[in-house]
Symmetry: C2
């Protein structure tokens, strides 16, 4: 049984029922806007994904969570923002594959993908507005702004060999961790828990998630990640495995990332990064963040604490 299946079991039938409602609602949202959108946004929404963020929303509200419309709306809103950013990221990266399937930009073109992302984004706020909680809108709009800033930062730093750890972590926080944080805050709000109390937990597991994602980009294998190794290198994105490997291998330190142009070249550089032992060091760093996340949890009912700790483990599990 995977860690996330264990979470679902630990959360009990209320969590399963809520997650079913989240799926059905996302289905309805993406079906309701005409054929073109239905096709592209449904492809995005339904191309799997672990629903980690909706699960965090539910468990942050309590275990068992309240089976309220507001909680479903918050979970759907977070996943829609996530989907919107994936669609726009793929436009920016020109990515052909995500989760082993063609991206919206690959199948519908840049224009369709940009508009689809905009629509998913707008629907997220429409969904959240149904819950009539201004505090929730504040949380999600803040996170959305930070996601866009993270994207801007990634573009600004592309191919910049001088990027160091602190700047990398700041970017990961903006482009990934803030949405995990928002998921926890939205759940807490719906559960009547102070919204900031779970924010550090969300942010730290989000950071760990991104760091491990960056490890996976180097380690592959493609059959598992659904994309070729070294996609970050080809995109000019300087990640922690490369930064760490450069401290260990002078030839990598001298590498001009802009000169890595083919998938084959990228694969060679990935092998070289792996050979330095940097990947293990980076994984250690992510595991330490997961441990920090767990110890940041406030006093919570035992079942809720256990379920959130299982989610934290789930973030790590895919790299075990």
């Amino acid at each position: 049984m995977s860690a996330l299946e264990t979470v679902l079991e630990a959360g009990g039938p209320a969590v399963e029922r809520l997650m079913d409602r989240v799926e059905r609602r996302m289905e309805a949202v993406t079906a309701g806007y005409g054929a073109a959108l239905a096709r592209y946004s449904r492809e995005t929404i339904h191309a799997g994904g672990k629903r980690l963020r909706p699960l965090l929303v539910c468990l942050s509200a309590g275990v068992p969570p309240p089976e309220s419309d507001g909680l479903v709306q918050a979970a759907v809103a977070v996943e829609l923002v996530h989907a919107a950013t994936l669609v726009h990221d793929d436009v920016l990266d020109g990515s052909a594959l995500r989760r082993g399937r063609p991206t919206v930009v690959a199948s519908g073109g840049r224009k369709m993908a940009t508009a689809t992302g905009d629509l998913l984004f707008a629907r997220a706020f429409a969904e959240l507005a149904r819950g009539r909680s201004p505090a929730s809108v504040t949380v999600l709009s803040r996170a959305s702004s930070e996601l866009a800033l993270g994207e801007l930062m990634q573009r600004a730093d592309a191919f910049d060999g001088a990027i160091q750890v602190e700047r990398y972590l700041q970017r990961c926080r903006l482009k990934t961790a803030v949405l995990f944080r928002a998921a926890c805050e939205l759940g807490a709000l719906a559960g009547g828990i102070p919204s900031t109390s779970l924010a550090p937990f969300g942010e730290q597991i989000g950071l760990a998630f991104q760091i491990l994602d960056d490890v996976l980009d180097v380690s592959g294998p493609p059959e598992r990640t659904g994309k070729p190794r070294g996609a970050d290198l080809l995109d000019g994105t300087i990640t922690l495995p490369l930064i760490e490997a450069r401290n260990r291998d002078p030839e990598l330190a001298a590498l001009e990332v802009g000169l890595v142009r083919s998938e084959r070249d990228a694969g060679t550089v990935c092998d070289r990064i792996a050979a330095t032992g940097a990947l293990d060091a980076v994984k250690e760093r992510a595991l330490a963040l997961v441990a920090d996340a767990k110890s940041s949890l406030p006093a919570l009912p035992e079942r809720q604490r256990a379920a959130l700790e299982l989610v934290a483990n789930g973030v790590v599990e895919r790299y075990a």
Copy 2:
């Protein structure tokens, strides 16, 4: 004195003070997110623009309008959504100029422009959330969804010579009129007026605005519009002037829009459209919509009615 200056005068000092606060707040919003964003979003926000939508928000709340933070936030939110859509539209169209100045996509590239649009969009909802009015978030998220649908529709219909008037009007409603409608609804909400009562007014002047914009694309002159004539043709966007001209000129009816590829060709087709007399017919249609908009207004205090009618005139004025 322009019609919009007349509106400001008719609205009295409260409207001027509110519009000043809107400007200052937009300045603060765009300055607060780092150098790259500050540059690009400020260029977008401050490249002029008539601030027609914020003005509609203010006047829809009453004349004189209540000088509340909520009204300023709503006005800023609408203008930020407008700015976000302009930035993304320019990415989609690959436009080099807007209002006679380089677009974000031209000066910063596609990636920067996509992320900038996302950020402006997120900031719009963050701004509206400060007002703590769930009804307002509902109005703006609905309009934002429709704007994205309008964009999708424009892409789906591009270069399709079979597009007829009804489909064209539906697209104009989605891509433009819904934000004018939202401006009126948000203002009404802030002023304690039933939000739907001003919606038809907003929607009809928005439609007229878009139709006249499409006339201007054909008639130019470029010195006035800040872009070459026939940009819509080059982009494959079938507009009412072309639809109307095709009913009058068999050669235009036979024209493959996809074959119009240079600015020079586009200018020639524009001349031909103008020669059919279609532009006057289209302008008449827009004027009729403005008249409908005025007569759709509910019972309102005289000063408010007069000010809203002046805005409706302002929409038409730039084509006088």
